[in-house]
């Protein structure tokens, strides 16, 4: 079965006052139908820009998609006309953003925002769209949908707004939903509600999901496959189990070690990653994790390591010393 989405060597740049930033610097990955793929990374790693680039939602200027292909359903999204692209956004690919208060229109009722979506992509009359809106709100677990449809975003709580966002994303029965930090702004118990809802709906409706997050716990609970990003590149990719139990990239390993765990008594001091993420305007030609990496050797300064197959089937890592990294994990276990 061909993948639903195939990103090939995608590159996005921003012109800033400080210089050219390669926010996404040649990323490639696939998403299968119905699969949940997580993209993890810290601020500035390019995880959001990478997702927005798929939908061609990069503001230009200052940003520009400079290369690569995004094959969705057999078409390269990069080659589509702006009109066709509008059909894809919200039609075949739904979106859920982090901040539901800023991504919903404050002066339109919830109902209008959902029916607008349905009318735009499906046509049909207002009554049909209205009926669909009621159905969608029920689907995302909002009680009393008829009354809620008349309300405005400010009358809803954060969790409720995110449910509305999910309803809008699902409105046109998309095959893929891109969720950019969908629960970061929410409290823990509401976060759990929203994530469980997204998981059960994507399973039931067979929708694939790309979830962008910095929370390693969410990834472990919900993702089938994981892409770890650092400084605009994917540094490691594989099944959730492989990434967590047998990391082959020093950044992945260090990241997992640096988080305190809820399910374990306090052991010793945390093992942080020293230093700070690199300045993206001043990346050299070597591996961008090198200054913080204790595995680094001279070779790492000369060229950026390519993403290559390692360990378990399907796992990829961009490190010249991935073998040594995995040996160390094995020894520790």
């Amino acid at each position: 079965m061909p993948p639903l989405l195939e990103v090939r060597n995608l590159r996005t740049e921003f012109r800033t006052g400080a210089g050219l930033v390669r926010a996404v610097d040649g990323i490639s990955y696939t998403v299968d139908p119905g699969e949940t793929v997580a993209v993890v990374g810290e601020s500035g790693s390019g995880k959001s820009v990478g997702a927005l680039s798929i939908l061609r939602l990069i503001p230009n200027p200052p940003g520009r998609i400079v290369g690569g292909e995004v094959i969705f359903n057999g078409h390269d999204l990069m080659q589509l006309s702006e009109a066709d692209m509008r059909e894809v956004r919200g039609g075949e690919i739904g979106m859920v953003f982090q901040e539901p208060m800023t991504s919903l229109n404050p002066v339109l009722s919830i109902g209008r925002q959902i029916t607008e979506m349905v009318e735009q992509h499906r046509g049909g009359d207002r009554a049909t769209a209205q009926a669909r809106a009621v159905e969608l709100l029920g689907l995302v677990g909002i009680a009393d949908p008829e009354r809620r449809l008349k309300q405005y975003p400010h009358q809803l709580s954060g969790g409720m707004r995110q449910r509305v966002m999910i309803a809008i994303a699902l409105a046109c029965e998309p095959k893929l939903i891109i969720a950019d930090e969908p629960t970061t702004a929410l409290d823990v118990t509401i976060q759990a509600q929203i994530l469980e809802l997204m998981q059960s709906l994507t399973r039931r409706l067979g929708v694939a999901l790309i979830v962008i997050t910095h929370n390693l716990g969410i990834v472990a609970r919900y993702a089938h496959r994981v892409n770890v990003m650092y400084a605009g590149r994917i540094v490691e990719s594989g099944s959730a189990a492989a990434i967590y139990h047998s990391p082959h990239h020093p950044y992945t390993m260090a990241l997992l070690k640096s988080v305190p765990r809820l399910d374990r008594p306090r052991q010793a001091r945390l093992d942080p990653i020293e230093g700070s993420p690199p300045d993206l305007t001043r990346l050299g030609r070597g591996c961008s994790f090198r200054p913080r990496c204790r595995f680094a050797i001279e070779k790492c300064a000369e060229a950026a390591p390519p993403l290559e197959a390692v360990g378990e089937q399907g796992q990829l890592a961009a490190c010249f010393r991935s073998h040594e990294v995995s040996l160390e994990t094995e020894r520790a276990a």
Binding site: D187, T189, A192, H214, G217, R221, V259, D271
Partner: protein, 332 residues
């Protein structure tokens, strides 16, 4: 301070603390039309040298608790004994002396540092206010020393906040709190805004400083994993009340209050194998408004084990195990 009397006299003792914020209407004649019961009857002690974690979701009153103890708010009711003296009603003058002993580290290192002040000036200001190191040269020296203590290059004294990263700014915020040589620091979501790799650095720094300067922390946070790592005891708050209080590992390994249980189950663990074996039912509903909180136990509308009597009277905090306090009538 010896270990012996450390247990005897708590550094902070909060008794029956209430903080109600009025909601008013009208521009000329302001009428009170209601109140937000942010903190509604909390008893809490903080021992010398410990880190007490205060956890809960937004709106539970944890930040307001911290602000009351710092006396940034004047509590509506109740007492806050700091080292035996009730500070709840102190006037502005007497508070100045108190603030040399109590300091705060805020969440957002972007908005809590003055963008027009150089780091050196940010750090020397508290010393000027409290008359520490009146000599400018010595003050500059102490600024360099503080920066080094907090893991920054002493030359950062000449920088502006915008020239630094988030982690570096938070180190400046910590150095500022240390400038007056305090004994007690309220950390209000001090690591929440930071990226994972930087967060671990700051957590380690806070631990080192606690040991080096014999500090006591009130660590307010919503990230339970961080709290488990850093704290000795934990108080869980819900809608203005403390619902559970115990030694840290006891709260995490053996939670008794249904809210604490739900909260812990909701946090995903960074391990797919552990997660695959964990089944959980998310807590239904949302936190009610603190303007009109539910009668009786404030948690009863969402509680999986609530019975009719829970709606009648608010449950008292009871010591069910040694040192393990729970406000629920249905657990034993």
């Amino acid at each position: 301070m010896t270990a012996l009397d450390a247990g005897a006299t708590p550094l902070v003792e909060v008794r029956g603390l209430k903080m109600h914020f009025p909601i008013t209407e009208g521009i000329v004649a302001r009428r009170k039309i209601g109140e937000v019961k942010a903190v509604d009857g909390v008893d809490l002690t903080i021992r010398r040298g410990e880190t007490l974690g205060l956890v809960g979701e937004s709106g539970c009153g944890k930040t307001t608790m911290g602000r009351c103890i710092l006396r940034l708010e004047k509590p509506t009711e109740g007492a806050i004994l700091y080292d035996g003296i009730d500070i709840a009603g102190l006037d502005r003058r007497s508070l100045v002396a108190l603030r040399r002993r109590i300091q705060v580290i805020f969440q957002d290192p972007y908005s809590s540092l003055n963008p027009r002040q150089k780091v050196g000036s940010i750090l020397s200001e508290p010393m000027k206010v409290h008359g520490i190191e009146p000599d400018a040269t010595k003050r500059a020296e102490r600024v360099r020393e503080l920066l080094t203590t907090c893991g920054l290059n002493p030359n950062f004294a000449d920088r502006y906040p915008h020239e630094m990263s988030g982690g570096q700014r938070q180190r400046v915020g910590i150095a500022r709190a240390l400038a007056v040589d305090p004994e007690f620091i309220v950390c209000d979501e001090a690591v929440s805004a930071l990226d994972v790799s930087i967060q671990a650095q700051i957590i380690n720094l806070l631990e080192d400083l606690r040991e080096k300067f014999n500090l006591t922390y009130l660590f307010i946070a919503h990230d339970l994993s961080v709290v488990r790592h850093l704290c000795q005891r934990v108080a869980v708050m819900y809608l203005g009340h403390v619902v559970e209080l115990a030694e840290c590992d006891e709260v995490f390994d053996n939670p008794l209050h249904p809210y604490t249980k739900a909260l812990l189950a909701a946090v995903p663990v960074p391990d797919p194998t552990v997660e695959a074996d964990r089944s959980f039912q998310p807590l239904p509903g949302e936190v009610p408004s603190p303007i009109n909180p539910p009668a009786g136990c404030v948690f009863h509308p969402r509680c999986p084990i609530a019975v009719a009597e829970c709606q009648l009277a608010p449950p008292e905090l009871r010591e069910l195990r040694p040192g393990h306090w729970v406000a629920c009538t249905q657990v034993n």
